[in-house]
Every structure is written in C-alpha cells, then in structure tokens.
Symmetry: C2
Subunit: 765 residues, 2 copies
C-alpha cells in the first residue's frame, strides 16, 4: 500500500491536513462528475506546486496522431483521446496583493471531503500568507445531476487576523493542453471570447473532430451573505476571460463568491445556439439559486443510492470503499446517452486515451443493469450496435470479408485506437464480450425485442468473424484459432486460447439460436436483417461446422482445460514461490520472461468459467480454480473480482475475501502507486460484482434470479440493493440471518440456495 | 523490377543520360568506400533536386534516444546510429554568376561510371545553364585504399560555347544532420574551424560518444593542366569553411580543381594530433600527387580482385552483378580493425542504424574468410569476443545469471539497440550464430589456438545462456525453449523453433567438446578461462543434460522437422496459390494474418539444415526443402541464397538459378523499390555464397575442402577464386569442363564430387 491518508468514514472520502505530495493523488480521488462532464479535484485558486489539471466533457475526443516505434500494416494512424477541456473552475485570489497559494502559505488547517451521499466536494483550510495575513477558506463544489451542463462553486474567504483587500479573479480558460499529446499539439481552437455582464462565454472547437463547446461562467459576490453589486475589471486574453473584483473585508467578514460554470456543446445543441442556451441555463440556475441547486443534488443522489447502495457493518473501510466505487461509477456514466460509454479512467485523467474497452461489456454492464433502469444497459449495448459499421471496416483492414465485424480494442468512435500488434490484432476475444453482454442483458431483462431490433446484426457480424478467423487443422481434425492474445495479456500470439475458442464457438451457436428465434417471433425483422446482411443458409451451415468442430486444449492429467496449446510445457511454479523483489513481474521482468513463465495477469480460463458457470459442475470449477489461481499474479485491476466470485462459489471464503480486499480500495489506498494519473473506474464495477455475485451469489442464468449469500467472517453484516425489472430488491446477510426485501412490492420469484421462493415483501432464512 | 537503367558491363556500373528521378537511387548504387569511410554518390556541385546526402566514417556512432510506442522492461533507452559525417566532397560552381545545377540546366550528355576493377567513380556531363552557357564537366573521385583517411576528387569544367568566369567554391561542412534522427537533434558539435593556406580543417565531435574528427580539404587549381596560383576569398561560417576561387576560362579551356578530403579521427589518433596528422597526410598525398594516388588505387584493387574475383561467361548482367556484390563488400569492410563490422547498409545509407546483425556471422564471415587473409575473419570474431562483457550485461537485464551471455540483435558497441520485444528479447538464435562462426572459422583455418585465446569464453557464455533459457517440460519429458522468434520473423513468440533448439543443443555440445580439447592442448589457457568464468564440472553436467534431452518438433507424416510446435495446425497453401495483389505480404497483410499463415519470410529450418548439412542425408535435405520451399516468400534479402545453395545440393539447378537471380541484382535493379535508402550490403555476401557454395558446391566441414561444381544452363562458364590458408585456388566450370588451379603453388588436398585429390597447380575433370 502506497498511500494511507484517507480518513475512514462511511459516507465520505476525507483528507485532513495539507501535504503537498498528496495533491495529485487527491486530485484524482476527490474527482467529481455527473456523467456529462467531470473534473479532477483541482484547487480553484492558484497553486504553484505540482498539480495535474483536468476537466473533461463526455463524448468529446480528438484523434491524435499515433506514435509508434515499428509500424505494422493495419495500425490506426490516429488515436482518439479524451480531451482536457476548457477550465471554468478557476478563481484566483489575492489578499492584500499577494496570491493565495497553498504552496507558499503556512497551512494550519486543511480538510477535504467528498460527500458521496449528497454528491459534493468541499475543501476548508486556514492559511497564513507570506504577508502575515491569515485567512479561512471554504469551497463547496458540485456538478449538477439535474442540470448536467452546469456546475457550481461557493467559495468563501474570511480574513482572520486583519482587515484586508481581497481580489477575486474568476476566469474561464480555453488555452488548455493535454499532458499526453503525442506531438505537443493543441487540440482546441478558440472561436470567440464573449464577456457579458457578470457572465462570460468562450466558444471553442476541437480541431479535426469539430466538437463545439461554449464554456461559461456566471459570478455573484456576497459579503456576510449580503449580495454586493461591485464594479469589476474585465481582462480579456485571446483564450481566456478573467473578471477582477476587489472587496475590502474586515476581520471575520465572510466574502463569498458563487461561480456557476457551464459546458454547452454541439453533441446536444445547434452550434449557433450554444451561447444562447448557456445564457438560458444561467438565468435558470440563478433563479433557482445555489442553495436550492445543492438541495436538488442531494435529492438526486439519494435516488441513485436507493437502488444501488451496499451497506457493510463492522468494517468502515470496506464500507467507504464500496460506496466510493459505486459513487465513481455513477459519476462517470449516467446511462441516458447511447453515444457515451465508460472510460477506464472516467473523468479523472487522460491515460488510456480511448474511452471504451471490453471492460464495459464484461464488468460494467452487470453493475449498471442491476442498479439502474434497463434502458441504461440497453444504451451501452446500442453504443456497440451503432459502431457495427466501423467494426466491419476494422475487420476489412485486417483482411476479413463479407460483413465480418471486429470490434476495436480501444475506441472513442468505433475506430480502433490501439497499436500493439499483439493486442490490436490478436486480443480478439473482445469480440465475444459484445455478444456475451447481449446474452447477459437478455438473461436479466428478458427483452428479446432488443435482439430483433439491434442485437442480431451484431451477432451476425461477430459470427462471421469467428468463422473466418478459425481455420481447419488437418493435424487435429478440428477447427483451431491461431495467433491470439487472451484476457491474460501475459501470453501473446498463442494458439487455441481456451477462452477465445470457447467464446467463438458460443458466439456462433448463440447467433444461430437467435436467428431461428427471431425468424419465428419477428419474421419481418428477420427478413430485414437477413437481407441487409446478405446472409444465406449455407453460410450459417458453414459457421456451425466451425462451432461443432472447435478444438479445446485439455489435460487429462490435470483434469482442466488448458489456457492454450503448449501451456503444460511451462514451469509450473506457484506465485507464493516468487521472490518478493520480483513482484510485480510487469515492473521487474523483461517481456519474454513474463511470456514464457506460467504467470497469469488476469483470469483467462477462469474468466470463461465465470461467464459460463452454469455449464460447469462445481467440481470442474474447483479443479480449474485450484490449477490456475496459484499461478495468477492479478496484475490487472480486473482480475481479483473474478477469482473472488469463483472462490465464493467453491466455498473458499477466505480466498474470496482476500481477493475482495485487493480490488475494493485499489485507488483509495493507491496500491499501484499510480492514482495520481486517475482512478480505475471500470474495475470498480468488478468490486461491486465481488459483493453481489461473489458474497451474495446472485446469478441470472436463463432468466432465473438466484442467490446463495455468504458472509466474510470479518464483517458483521452486509446488504445490497438491485433493481430487477423495475423492482428494487434488497439482500441482507449476517452471520445468523439471510433476509430478502422487495421494496417495490411487485412479487418476484427468486431462487435461494437452489430453492425457489416468491418474494413479495420480505423473506427470512 | 522497379529500375532498369544500369548499363550492363563486365567491370563497371554505368548510368547514361540524366534522369532526376534516378538521383537518389544512383547515389546509393554508385556509393564508394574504403573500409574506413564511405560516401553516397552525391554530386560535388550544388543540386537543387531530390537528394539524400550521406558521408560516413567507420566506427563512429551516436546513441539516439529510442522512440517506441509501448515501452517494455528491458528495452534499450538508446539506439546507436550510423552517423552522417561532415561533408568534404562539396565543390559549388558558378558560371558567370549562375549556379551550376543539373536540376535547372539542360543536360545533353550525362554518364556515370563506377569502375569496380580500379575503384573509382566518374561522372561526365554536358549541361547548358539558364544563361545559355554550355559546359562540359568531368569528375573523378575515389577513396584511397592505401591512405584510408584520404579521398580525392578531380573536377574539370570546360566551357563549350563562350569565354566565361568560373567560380569554384570548395568547402567542408560540419553542419550536417541525420535524416533518421528520432527527435531531430544534432549529433555533432563543432569545436574549431581552421582555415589555412589552400587547406582547411574543421574539428567536430559527436555528442555523448565524444568521437573527435578533423575533416579536411586541400585545394589545387589548374588551367589546361598548368597549376594556377590564384588568390582566393575565404568564407568562414560557424560550421563550414568555403574557399572562393575565380577563374576566367576561354572556350574549351579545361579548368581543373583537385580536392583532397580527409577524415582523421580519435579512434586512431590522439585528439590533439588530429589536425597535425591531417596536415601531414595532405603534405604526403600532395607530394605523391593525384595521378599517382589513383595508380595506387588501381594496384590495390587489383590485389583484392586477385583473390576474390568471380568470372561469369555468357551473362554480362550476372557478371556485373556478382562483381558489384564483391566490390561493395570490399568497400564496406577491409578487415584490419577488430572494432569495425559490416552494417547491413554499409556506408550507403542510415537505415538499420545499428551496425552489426547476425548477418555478419551467418553470411559475411564465409565471404571474407574465403577472399581475404584469415586475420580478417579472426577480427570479425574478435569483435564479438570484445563485446562479451556487454553480452553478459545484456543477458542480466533479461534476468539471466552467472555469466550467461546474450549477444544483441543490433549493435554498434556491444549494447542492444533494438526494441521490438519479439525481436530484441526473442530472436535469440543470433547467439548461436556467434558460435557457429567460430566453428566455421576453425573448419576453414584449423586455427584452434583462437579457441584457447578467445573463442572458448564466448562458448561458455552462450552455453550458459541456452542452459538457463531452456526449461524442462514435464509434459514432454524433454527440455523445451519457449517464446522465441526464429530466423523466420513471420512467426513470433513460438515454442520450440527447430532452428533455435538445434543451435542451442549444438552450442552446448560444441562448447563442452572445446572445453575438453583446450584442457588437453592448452592446459594453462584452460585454467585461466575456467577460473575467470568460475566454471564447475557440475555446471557442465547440467548443460549437457539440457543438450541431451533437447526437444525437436517432428512430423512422422511429412517426415520433416517442424519449424515450431503447432506448425501443422496452419493452412498449408503454397506461395504460388497466393494472389499477386497480396504480395509482398509484409506490405499487404496485417501482422496477425502473416503470423498465423504458413508463409516463411526467410529460411528457418532450412537455414539450420544448410549450416549443418553434413548431419543430414540428401534425402532428408530434399524432404525438408520440398516441404518448406513452396511456402517461403523470401521477403528477406537473406533468404534466396540459402535456398539456392540447398537446391543445388539436391540437384534442382533451375530452382537454384531462380533463387540466384533474386539475390544477385537486388540493388542494381531495385527489386524492392528501396535502393534509394542504401544498398543491402550483407545480403551481397549471400549472393557470393550462392555461386561458391551453391553452384561450386564448396564445403569445409571437418577441415576438409570439397567441391561439387555444377553450372546453370544459362551460362557458358564461371570461375571463382578463394584464398584457402594462404593459397589462392581458382575453380573453373563450364558445361564440358571442371578445372581447378592452384595459383600459389603450395599443394592442397581437396575433395571433388566425393573423391580426394591433390591440387598442386592444375586439375581437370
């Protein structure tokens, strides 16, 4: 564990005392977002110490020119990047002419709080400037869920030991850069700078992608809660507008600046209406007022928690951690826009520039499906449906034909963004996750119409890909899939990865099954789809031949499917035998050594067994777990959750709990010494899965909702809520009791530990 | 074939007529060098068209900061690069104030000749300037073999249609750049600029590596062969010295500037003596005079051809090609300096920045060993011996211990320069080539003392590497080598590459054999080496266990060793079935598609069979050839020669000749449309092998010199010379005769077509 300064608290993330070396980490941890935009927890006032400034607008990206050492055919030339957006949070402050700057002041008190229950970020401090003036500052900031183009800051300065002149310099600044720009280029062009009375707007657009954004601010200043009608000086630079207010304050006067900020952008508005809509919004929220807007925020977050909270008794750090994970997932993605997705770092950093990975389908969809309305998961599925054309183009670049689709490894707009050949071209199992997500959604919602409307086309494209990607091995008399990288990226260019082959076979069979079902239930949709895809019966027969004759590497001796051909040629030395100084191996070993070792970065065969658990007996699950778990190093944040869930399944609760600990406080305690770059948003969904599917044993195979709750011995009790087809269910588990509540009242049939029950209001076992 | 303008000629490379689109290609093809330095055939006078300027000094390199997309542990941070060196060839010319520039003139006559017999480059042209003046120009340039720090240019301008003022601006310019600089940095710093009377020197040094070079020029001007004692103007810029001479010339006056150029550098001289030694050299060659220096050049090249010429009757293009290959190899490396090696592009371009590849050991050493004194091959071996410490460091970076050595894939100074993980870390077969080269040298020279003095230490380091790199497979009950790239780079991260495993086993056994032999013959050396290496008997036993139990993938069905595990899972579709538009696959296919295809870039299993041919029966050779040749695309310039040699061995002379054609005129006819970047120097040694080992059937296994000459039906006859242990032998083969000559007179035992003969002066079969 590298950091350990977050104060345990059930509902808040708290930092106490000022430590300059924590600033960039806290900027990540205390990030706020509302699904439409997000910000790192940068200070409003000037800070001359080390900081990583970041504001982000959902959906806005830039295709930066790729940087690569050795070019390969098929690499994308551009890499779509999350963009650092214009800054509207800035309020520089001078006290008697000296910059208020925590780096150069004596800080006698400092506290930060991210209130997850209510969705706001507060910072209070007392600082003595070099000129001897001591001030108390309180800042409370939030990004409105109700008006998701608006954020608000209430920033109060109180001089403690003298009468002073305070100068506030609130600004908006569109002269920003990405830290990760490959060629140090600017990604934004400023089109117009528009100061108005006490409010201002800058319109800028992204180069190449032409996203237009009006960034706005509106200012109001109070003294001791009485509004001031101050004159102000207006400073206009080519890419920045600063207003300068001067206020005299007696000792203990509270001078407050309320600053509304806004992003109004062209994905949602006509370009020529950006400013007028911003003006309209500022009028609206000014009428509502800061305080009432904050009340709305509390109400809206309360609604989110109503269907998604997890309560843990007896372990406040575990409680804090799970809420932090749920909170960040909700800050990142609200689910009402099918053009958006969940970036691995959300709105908390620039890294992994492209937004969407298979993380969404494999880890995030179950979370959003269970905690929100089903339209949210549907939007995530439609995101991929809308990218089908690009996925077909992507496959064509790699030599596939006839409508075969290969979804990108990393993307913002459907185009591939990544360029390591062993990942970009070979980590093709991602294609299976697209179909698995539909399957998962159907199991949960029974919304088969989705398949007829959208899903089947995706299934056809993916089935075609697998059919073409496999080849017949005369030697094995089976179809094989050569040259892939599985979920375990510590193996590259391997043959017959069990997980990939299994998914390939399953995808084809599932596509064929759904073809038949759509043909029967929605014949018109069937005709439309088959015509559009030019699909023939003989093609389907050819697919099925590949599926039926798919090869799977298996060891009789160990009674397990092998991760890939030749896996047993490796030295099988369990992780506990690895010297400490060799860990993590991805920082200590050269790549070849990692590749030829037996060590597994993240669940691979076990990922498959987790996803298709109903096809394996508990003994089979256990034999695979016992074979693979001891050689898994979990150097991906997405690994421990799968192992935790399977461990719980096979009654290894100690192992399940150990794995839970690895995932839940990853960012809060900065296990990997990288939280300053941003949070691991997608892996937070894995943490949620660990509790709900792992400890709670929730499953939805074949449209049957089932549970088999267990509890780690370290906890007193836990409970979680899920939204199951418009019904909010709550599961409570202590060492003595297992209870189920139906909060909505519509009866639901659930299976508990293998027995079917009708849950109307409450059940107790 | 992309270019086709080189005029066929037995001893010269000739270009006739001026074509601006050929300039960069001809700059490569007409390159000159003397082992210590080399130059692209850039024009002396200004040229405003497209040109790639390049002058190079042997051994001088710069560690450019690596550029790579995705970093892996173990990658080198710096990439040692061949450096573009200060220019001393420049002579700008003005006629009546207008620049003489072939780009802007009407060129009515243009001829270039690279005379390979005598070692000089001549260019003659008649050009009408925009001012209407017509001039004839003749330039003859050579880099002296006898004074290898000196070059000379005789540049004559004759006005043809008017009396004119001619201005000569000879210069030296140290303000040069590398085209391939990763971060556009300068690699040289100029230390001093020293104009003297009619001669000038610039001392510059390379940044980081601190090579110091004095670049010099000395000028003399004649009118109609009468020396002129002209006043001149001296223009000194921060990194350049230009002298300005003005001469009036009547119609048909021949105004000649003789310019000596020099590089005197700190690898060979004290830094404070660089200028004084340059002055001494200029005095010396001025006394000798340009004409006599050129006579020396002819004498010295005559000596080279005496032991290395190949004569082909009946095919002037083949004759030209093979001499071009021999000529360029001699221009690149003269063999008298163990610090130098043979770069894949020699002194003809910047690409493949690092100088030394396994090309040297696998392809070049046989050429130099057979055409020069044995000290040359010995120097090439000592180059690697001198890098043994660095090779051990390199292996340590990858986790190997106890003195295991891994030679770099690409290097200038012993450090690894390359960073593609699948090559840098996995193409480890190169380590075997180091030992094979010693074996080859011993077979040829019987100089076993080399092993005691140097070779054994290298063998120990490499044997240790293979011992540690292999691991025991419980599954196979054999030692396996996982995660490698073989010579066929169209497969990456494969297991049990036959060639690699074979070499590994052989290296260990050969090391042990030599250990025993040194112990017996040179016990003191043995003690010294074993002590230095801390080698124990038990370690050697452990090595041998790996060698004895090495695994080789084999197919009973096809009766061949398999290139790697799983090779038979591929679709076996022969190259002739590949659509034309898919070739070359490395330009048309994405990398994954290449990897999972059966197509072979260059000889791999066949490379091993070629190297250890005496261990295989002719039937075995044929079955492997027939299995692998049809799926080999030869997209490496190093591939066809091996196939040609084996084809000749198994009596497929048509195939052998087809493969010969692919290699011999690769650059002259620019098969790959890339000659403008430089020549393929190392593959030229492969061309030589094709004739001597392929058609001539020369072998030296077990210190026995043998031949089995055949002749392609397309030729009348051919003959080649080799230098075998201080005896120059000549082999002549026509369709009716096979003759052997001993030009030195010391009797040699040779085997011809399996029968032993004593060759004293001549043998005829």
């Amino acid at each position: 564990m590298n950091l350990n300064y977050i104060v345990p608290n059930e509902w808040s993330i708290i930092e106490e005392g000022f430590n300059a070396s924590h600033v960039t980490a806290s900027e990540s941890i205390f990030s706020i977002g509302n699904g439409a935009m997000g910000q790192r927890a940068n200070f409003e006032e000037k800070y001359s110490g080390k900081t990583f400034q970041g504001s982000y607008i959902a959906g806005i990206y830039y295709p930066d020119k790729t940087r690569v050492g050795w070019w390969k055919n098929g690499y994308p030339e551009y890499f779509a990047k999350v963009l650092n957006a214009p800054n509207w949070i800035g309020i520089d402050v001078k006290i008697n002419g000296e910059d208020l700057d925590l780096k150069t002041s004596q800080v006698s008190y400092f506290k930060r709080e991210l209130n997850m229950k209510e969705g706001w970020l507060q910072r209070s401090f007392i600082a003595k400037l070099q000129n001897g003036i001591e001030v108390k500052v309180n800042s409370l900031r939030f990004l409105s869920l109700r008006y998701n183009e608006i954020g608000a800051i209430k920033y109060t300065v109180t001089p403690l030991n003298a009468e002073v002149d305070i100068e506030f310099n609130p600004y908006i600044d569109a002269g920003i850069k990405n830290e990760d720009a490959n060629y140090d280029e600017l990604f934004w062009e400023v089109l117009s700078v528009n100061p108005e009375v006490r409010q201002a707007f800058i319109v800028s657009k992204t180069l190449k992608t032409n996203f237009h954004v009006a960034t706005g601010m509106k200012i109001q200043i109070d003294k001791n809660t009485v509004p001031l009608d101050l004159a102000y000086f207006q400073n206009e630079e080519p890419k920045k507008i600063t207003y300068q207010y001067k206020v005299s304050a007696k000792q203990n006067d509270a001078i407050t600046i309320v600053k509304f900020g806004s992003y109004v952008q062209s994905m949602n508005h006509e370009i020529d209406k950006l400013i007028s809509h911003s003006q309209y919004l500022f009028d609206e929220v000014s009428n509502i007022g800061y305080n009432q807007l904050l009340e709305y925020q509390k109400e809206d977050w309360a609604k989110i928690w109503e269907t998604s909270d997890i309560v843990i008794e007896g372990d406040v750090k575990a409680q804090q951690a799970i809420r932090f994970n749920i909170f960040q997932l909700n800050q990142t993605y609200s689910g009402d826009d099918a053009r958006l997705n969940i970036g691995p770092k959300g709105f908390t950093g620039e890294k992994y520039g492209g937004s969407t990975y298979w993380d969404t389908e494999a880890y995030c969809i179950p979370f959003y499906m269970s905690t929100k309305d089903k339209s949210v998961a549907k939007n995530l599925l439609k995101y991929r449906y809308n990218h089908l054309g690009k996925a077909i183009e992507n496959a064509e670049k790699l030599g596939f034909k006839n409508g075969a689709a290969l979804y990108p490894m990393v993307t913002m707009n459907g185009e591939e963004c990544h360029n390591e050949w062993e990942i970009t071209f070979e980590e093709i199992h991602r294609n299976g996750a697209m179909i698995y997500a539909i399957y998962n959604y159907l199991n949960y919602t029974n919304d088969f119409k989705y398949v007829a409307d959208y899903g089947l086309e995706v299934m056809i494209g993916v089935a075609r890909f697998w059919h073409q990607r496999a080849n017949f091995s005369v030697e094995k008399n089976k179809y094989v899939i050569l040259g892939v990288t599985g979920p375990n990226e510590y193996e590259n260019n391997i043959n017959n990865n069990f997980y990939t082959n299994y998914l390939a076979k399953w995808c084809i069979k599932y596509a064929v099954k759904n073809l038949k079902k759509v043909q029967k239930k929605y014949p018109e949709d069937y005709k439309r789809i088959v015509d559009k895809a030019c699909l023939t019966d003989s093609e389907v027969v050819a697919w099925m031949q590949v599926a039926e004759l798919m090869y799977f590497p298996y060891s009789q001796k160990h009674n397990v499917y092998l991760q890939q051909d030749g896996f047993l040629d490796k030295d099988y030395i369990t992780v506990d035998k690895l010297p400490k100084e060799d860990r993590p191996i991805n920082q200590k070993w050269s790549w070849d050594r990692i590749l030829r070792s037996c060590y597994i970065k993240q669940a691979d065969v076990l990922q498959g067994i987790y996803m298709f658990e109903n096809k394996f007996t508990t003994d089979e699950i256990a034999s695979h777990f016992n074979f693979y778990e001891p050689i898994t190093v979990h150097e991906s944040s997405l690994s421990p959750c799968v192992h935790s869930i399977l461990a719980a399944k096979i009654d290894k609760m100690d192992k399940a709990y150990e794995m839970y600990l690895r995932t839940s406080r990853l960012d809060l305690d900065d296990y990997n010494n990288e939280v300053h770059e941003g949070l691991h948003i997608t892996s937070m969904a894995g943490t949620w899965l660990t509790i709900v599917q792992g400890f709670g044993g929730m499953r939805t195979f074949k449209n049957k909702l089932s549970f088999s709750p267990q509890i780690p011995k370290e906890w007193i009790s836990y409970s979680f809520k899920i939204n199951y087809n418009e019904t909010v269910l709550k599961v409570y588990k202590s060492h003595s009791e297992t209870k189920f509540y139906n909060e909505t009242g519509k009866a639901v049939t659930i299976e508990i530990n293998g027995k079917s029950h009708e849950l109307v209001t409450e059940l107790s076992l």
